[in-house]
């Protein structure tokens, strides 16, 4: 039997129940009166108005800015790492890849608490060790925006690296050699040959990192001491202590919209078939 629309039925049903239906419900909630639970009440845009007038700009800014900065940082670190791992394939690269991958299997909160213990002043692992071993006293970036940034990069780096590894693997060695033979500088090789060929992997890595960072909350909560309030924290507050589900739903829809605005144009430009070598 040739795979046809029937084969798509299970995933279509799954997406309908697990994705489309919740989005519709959240969208509906976002249109009812603030702090109400009655889905049959009159519809209103009051929650969306409040999202733009009641100080939610800061949380949106920090989430989007943090996601962009983290994506850029991860890309800058992951590119040479991926090149190195690809070049050394079979010569210890698997061990390094494994060391980077293994932490993904540990709960994010546990990893962040570990990082918090590392950064802590006084008796923290770094500060305490430096003090005990060398008599050096240092401060800490814990409970600052820098700690949030470091946490975001630490947690999301593998999500950039592994798609990028696939992307780097798409670059034929002879293309680089040919470019060099024709007199291209290293910068030109990077810009004209390597980046365009590795773009699908880079784009997938960037999308994964960006989308996960937009929804990240634990870094600001555990490492940042809430030096900033990210949008997911603001949403959580509306759903929990405020018991204002419609406002939380409106903010959720706006985050979904921001994500869609970023994701769909990028996805439209990526040839996934090429990435999986079809």
């Amino acid at each position: 039997m040739k795979p046809g629309p029937l084969f798509a039925l299970p995933v279509a049903l799954f997406l309908l129940v697990g994705f489309a239906a919740p989005i519709v419900i959240v969208g509906w909630y976002s249109l009812i009166e603030p702090r109400s639970f009655d889905l049959t009440s009159d519809l209103t845009l009051a929650n969306y108005r409040a999202a733009f007038t009641e100080g939610y700009g800061g949380p949106f800014y920090w989430s989007i800015f943090g996601a962009l900065l983290t994506t850029l940082t991860c890309a800058l670190i992951a590119w040479p790492t991926a090149k190195m791992l690809h070049a050394r394939a079979g010569r210890g690269a698997a061990i390094i890849t494994g060391l980077i991958a293994v932490p993904i299997f540990v709960s994010e909160s546990v990893r962040l608490f570990g990082l918090s213990l590392f950064m802590m002043p006084g008796g923290g692992i770094l500060a305490g060790s430096l003090k005990a071993l060398f008599g050096v006293s240092i401060g800490t970036v814990l409970n600052t925006k820098i700690a949030v940034y470091l946490g975001l990069v630490y947690v999301h780096f593998p999500f950039m690296l592994f798609p990028l590894l696939l992307g780097v693997a798409l670059i034929p060695r002879d293309r680089i050699d040919a470019a060099r033979d024709l007199g291209a500088s290293r910068w030109q090789v990077l810009r004209e040959v390597e980046l365009p060929l590795a773009l699908p992997g880079l784009a997938i890595g960037a999308l994964l990192t960006f989308v996960l960072c937009i929804g990240a909350n634990a870094e600001a909560a555990i490492l940042g001491g809430q030096a900033v309030t990210v949008v997911t924290r603001a949403i959580e507050q509306r759903f929990s202590y405020a018991q204002d589900w419609p406002m939380g739903a409106a903010l959720t829809m706006l985050v979904t919209l921001v994500t869609a605005i970023v994701v769909f144009p990028v996805l439209a430009r990526i040839d996934l078939n090429r990435l999986i070598r079809r």
Partner: protein, 392 residues
């Protein structure tokens, strides 16, 4: 804490009176017989579900219940009192059997809205005779407004205000200064906030000189907003994890934090960090008091499935063995009303009693106003959460 006179052993160990060995064996046999039923039927007949604060989710307590009764038990931990109240309002009365909330909710909301059952008075009132004098019947928070219905069983209670590093701030000074410590510019950047946000709202009221449980004027709201923004912006850190705050105090990052009390300080004190010190102010704007005393009331959700098992559980948690586990729930030492009994109190070592600052417990309770529902909470919370969003 004024203790009750000695009570008959049958009352001290109500499980023995309420549930004979034969009944117990019968219950266990029924449990075994039910093992042959389809899972859904068995689960409905046996299982009880707790919507609770963490002490009742202690695995030792749950295992002991399962072992003694053969009945399964599951739980979910509250986010906040109002969140769980709204879950019952939204129809989850058929999901939960047991709910433990702070004192005002049962008589002011849950019972009037038909969300909980009343308890048989002849069976449950004697349990109050085993508690501290404070809870002597008629105990208002456990009764309906008209006094006719018993709505739950009191167990955990405490004051919950703020915690200082006693090496930096002398406890006597902290008690005298009270909430003004957080208004003192010298401590800007030297304190943390435990983001139990409904409690934060009450504390900021206290710091602004406003009674948290009385209606507010526009001037009160303005004062609340000014205090909220200042306190939130001046905080060194805000977290939902009190262990982080205790560590930050031990590492010298902060000198004090709110909200906190025995619940947040006792485990660190029990580990030897006795400079982590729970403070209840000597005075404040709430009828002259500055502390807040919460009392948890354990109630039976109006869920016909598992009703009797829930009544059994409510009685069982007051037995000395169960009460001891609740007092040690999830590793945090916490006073329980059954500590009025020598049989329960004697299970705690001198160091453990020091960890809960037992010697000054009466003083703290007497300096605290009893927890209540905050009028216009929504408006105050919106001011608070806007200040949080603007931080940084």
């Amino acid at each position: 804490m004024k203790r009750r006179p000695t009570v008959p052993s049958s009352l001290r160990n109500p499980m023995s009176g309420a549930l004979s060995r034969r009944q117990m064996m019968g219950g266990m046999a029924a449990g075994l017989a039910a093992a042959g039923l389809p899972m859904s039927a068995r689960a409905q007949a046996d299982q009880i579900a707790l919507l609770t604060w963490d002490a009742y989710a202690d695995p030792r307590l749950l295992d002991m219940w399962r072992k003694e009764t053969g009945k399964d038990i599951r739980y979910e931990i509250h986010i906040s009192d109002p969140t769980s109240v709204n879950r019952l309002r939204a129809g989850e009365t058929n999901v939960w059997n047991f709910i433990n909330l702070n004192n005002p909710w049962a008589r002011q909301v849950l019972w009037p809205e038909g969300l909980i059952y009343d308890l048989p008075r002849d069976r449950f009132e004697p349990l109050y005779a085993q508690m501290f004098e404070k809870f002597a019947m008629p105990y208002d928070w456990a009764l309906s407004e008209d006094g006719n219905n018993l709505l739950g069983v009191v167990q955990r209670f405490e004051t919950f205000d703020f915690v200082v590093n006693s090496d930096v701030i002398a406890p006597a000074t902290a008690k005298d200064e009270g909430w003004d410590l957080f208004n003192n510019p010298d401590f800007a950047g030297r304190y943390g906030i435990l983001a139990y946000e409904d409690w934060n709202v009450m504390d900021i009221c206290m710091g602004a000189g406003i009674h948290p449980y009385k209606p507010k004027t526009e001037a009160d709201y303005a004062k609340f907003e000014e205090t909220a923004r200042r306190w939130i912006n001046n905080a060194k850190m805000i977290t939902t994890d009190f262990v982080q705050l205790n560590l930050a105090m031990l590492n010298g990052e902060i000198d004090l934090y709110f909200t906190g009390g025995t619940y947040t300080a006792s485990s660190a004190r029990a580990e030897g960090a006795t400079n982590i010190y729970a403070i209840t102010p000597n005075s404040g704007p709430a009828d002259g008091k500055g502390g807040i005393n919460w009392i948890e009331l354990n109630s039976a959700v109006a869920n016909p499935t598992g009703k009797e098992a829930t009544f059994d559980f409510l009685e069982w948690i007051t037995t000395p063995d169960a009460a001891e586990i609740v007092a040690r729930g999830n590793g945090n030492l916490q006073p329980v009303s059954q500590m009025a009994q020598d049989e329960v109190l004697s299970r705690f070592s001198a160091d453990e009693l020091d960890a809960i600052q037992w010697d000054e417990f009466d003083e703290r309770i007497s300096n605290a106003v009893e927890f209540d529902i905050i009028p216009d909470y929504d408006r105050l919370y919106d001011i608070y959460s806007a200040a949080i969003r603007d931080r940084g």
